[in-house]
């Protein structure tokens, strides 16, 4: 793996082509002005948005306790399936997060050097924490009568979001720093989402879950802090600056 980014022949910016750029700027003089289309892109998007249904639904509880729980919540005006949807989203995130860390472990193992305080063992620890969080969420969903193998609407959309993280991390050309940036993005989303999930669980009176999730949140905040520290150290080293 190339350890760091260097100066080179990047051709993408306009200043890389001093002669052709001048000709490119002239093109505006060749463009005819036409009126706006009868139907604009915004209008087209609005039509699709207004007509669209959700990507799918949450499956109903599969056992009596779950059904009873859901009914009790519904009688109180609460919509249990919203909690199940968010739990499934978090589960999908943690499960994918394990794979993100698996990929980072490969990157770190191949690096010539790691920034200060960053070790393979520390990365592995975070990875194992994510796996434990996944197991916690699977158990939580089961307790509420849900199916932890189901992909719910929020889990689906979260999966789409996550594709960018995977693509960035899995590129063998992505440097260690770029890998850490990707992890930091993942951890920031993770920590914020756990906070919101705790509030939601408390709103449903699921205090036992909220307590367990509070411990998970504390873990995630430690992950975020560690990854941020590693990234900061790596960037300072690369830039040869000192904070």
């Amino acid at each position: 793996m190339q350890p760091e980014i260097t100066l080179g022949k990047n051709r993408t910016g306009i200043k890389a082509s001093p002669f052709d750029a001048a000709e490119l700027r002239e093109q505006q003089g060749h463009q005819l002005t036409v009126g706006r289309p009868a139907i604009t892109a915004e209008q087209l998007r609005m039509e699709y948005t207004q007509e669209a249904e959700a990507v799918g639904s949450v499956p109903p509880p599969t056992n009596v306790r779950g059904m009873v729980g859901a009914t009790a919540q519904a009688l109180a005006g609460h919509r249990m399936h919203i909690l199940l949807d968010k739990l499934a989203e978090r589960l999908a995130y943690e499960r994918s997060g394990v794979r993100l860390y698996d990929s980072m472990l490969v990157k770190a193992a191949g690096a010539e050097r790691l920034p200060a305080d960053m070790t393979i063992e520390a990365l592995q620890e975070i990875r194992d924490d994510e796996a434990a969080h996944f197991a916690l969420l699977a158990e939580s969903i089961e307790k509420l009568g849900g199916d932890p193998t189901a992909m719910t609407p929020c889990a689906d959309i979260q999966g789409v979001q996550g594709m960018g993280l995977f693509q960035a991390m899995n590129d063998p050309r992505a440097t260690l720093a770029q890998g850490l940036e990707t992890l930091l993005a993942a951890e920031l989303i993770d920590a914020a989402s756990w906070e919101l999930l705790i509030e939601l669980a408390q709103g449903f009176g699921q205090d036992e879950l909220a307590n367990e999730f509070t411990q998970a949140l504390a873990n995630e905040q430690r992950h975020e802090a560690r990854v941020r520290t590693w990234l900061a150290a790596e960037l300072q080293l690369l830039a040869r600056v000192h904070h």
């Binding site: 499960r95 794979r99 698996d102 990929s103 796996a131 932890p148 992909m151 689906d156 789409v160 960035a168």
Partner: protein
């Protein structure tokens, strides 16, 4: 129920048209729609793209047919778009790949059981076990790369197990060519089956060739490179069972018939009412196209097209889980190999193919690497590894 071909109506070709909004409809739900709705969409897109490919090849070799071909081809282009765009982009490319392999497994298995010719049935069973193995490899990739569960796509209809290992599926081209049927004597179902499965495999090949390089992960890139090569082999295999002595018009007629046959099957079995309405519209269009090509056939070949296509279509291919059949074939035939046009036990494998695959695999086998120790578990293999203590 058989569809009669003796008094076809359908929409006249010159009234078959669309607006862009009609081509880009709301996609199906990845979560709520039945997996077989997705299977039908992938299959029918494949058939329409084969119609496009055939039509272009025919146009290159038949000056006088170009206008007729182009007019129908334009409609089929738009049918293909309307159908393929029903797959929402919340399907990751790997998830769509899982769906493609489900098509290959379930439709080929259904065909294999209904195929009247034993040699052709063996051909379908042979390919089936290879696509079955691809499903296992891609499921491992989806699990280990994206942390997702392939069964979210498969909906428990299709097993995830090793089939004939992909690493031994690589054959010398001479060992992919089979004995073609004789169109003059072949059972009508045989002809419909061959065109259907060839089209499906061809589109699978196209799809993998397009998306393989979109992955950044090198193992994913390697995996698609390897499996795309097998799909090219499968396309060659299924193409080779089709009678090459048919005229261009005969082949065109059979293509339109095959499309009618499969749209009819979709209409009969579709559970989503909105999608069923689309299949009904396109069945109507295909009947109009078939009627038009039958007329052309009469004019050009001075023959009655009903002699070729019969007076009614057979019952459609069933869209349903073929799990029991697949498991049975797996037990009995996983160790078969191909030697020239014949299927042989492993011990008689072709020296040409052995040499070919040994070289291809000499720097590692992506399909072996990706599925290293992989056992499918609901909720992904992490669910098995990380069960919390009670």
């Amino acid at each position: 129920m058989a569809l009669s071909l003796t008094d076809i109506q359908g929409t006249p070709v010159d009234r078959q048209r669309f607006t862009w909004r009609e081509l880009v409809q709301a996609p199906i739900s990845k979560l709520d729609d039945d997996a077989f709705t997705r299977v039908r969409i992938i299959l029918m897109n494949g058939l329409e793209l084969e119609a496009n490919r055939f039509s272009h090849m025919a146009a290159r070799m038949n000056r006088d047919l170009r206008g007729e071909l182009a007019r129908i081809r334009r409609v089929e282009q738009h049918q293909a778009t309307a159908i393929n765009w029903l797959i929402g982009a919340d399907h990751s490319p790997l998830e769509t790949t899982i769906a493609y392999e489900q098509v290959a497994i379930e439709v080929t298995a259904a065909v294999a059981q209904r195929e009247p010719d034993e040699y052709l049935a063996q051909t379908y069973r042979f390919g089936l076990l290879e696509d079955f193995d691809h499903m296992y490899r891609y499921s491992a990739m989806l699990d280990r790369l994206e942390g997702k569960d392939a069964n979210n796509i498969l909906q428990c209809y299709t097993d995830i197990l090793p089939g004939r290992p992909t690493m031994v599926e690589h054959r010398h081209p001479d060992d992919d060519l089979r004995t073609p049927m004789d169109a003059r004597t072949a059972h009508p179902l045989s002809k419909l089956h061959a065109l259907t499965i060839m089209s499906a495999e061809q589109q699978t090949h196209n799809y993998y060739m397009n998306i393989g390089p979109l992955f950044t992960d090198p193992v994913a890139r390697l995996l698609y490179a390897e499996i795309a090569s097998i799909e090219e082999q499968h396309t060659t295999q299924y193409e080779s069972i089709i009678d090459p002595d048919q005229t261009w018009m005969e082949q065109w007629l059979m293509h339109e018939l095959m499309e009618v046959y499969n749209y009819y099957g979709c209409v009969q079995q579709e559970t989503n009412p909105r999608i069923k309405a689309l299949w009904e519209r396109f069945l109507d269009y295909e009947l109009g196209q078939l009627k038009h090509v039958m007329e052309l056939f009469k004019q050009i070949e001075r023959r009655d097209p009903l002699e070729l296509i019969g007076e009614s279509l057979p019952d459609p291919i069933p869209f349903a889980s073929q799990r029991d059949f697949v498991r049975d074939v797996l037990t009995r035939e996983v160790d078969l190999r191909a030697r020239g046009t014949e299927y042989v036990p492993m011990e008689e494998d072709s020296e040409l193919s052995i040499a070919y695959r040994d070289h291809m695999n000499s720097q590692g086998s992506p399909t072996e690497a990706v599925a290293d120790g992989y056992v499918y578990r609901p909720g992904t293999e992490l669910a098995a590894l990380h069960k919390r203590a009670a």
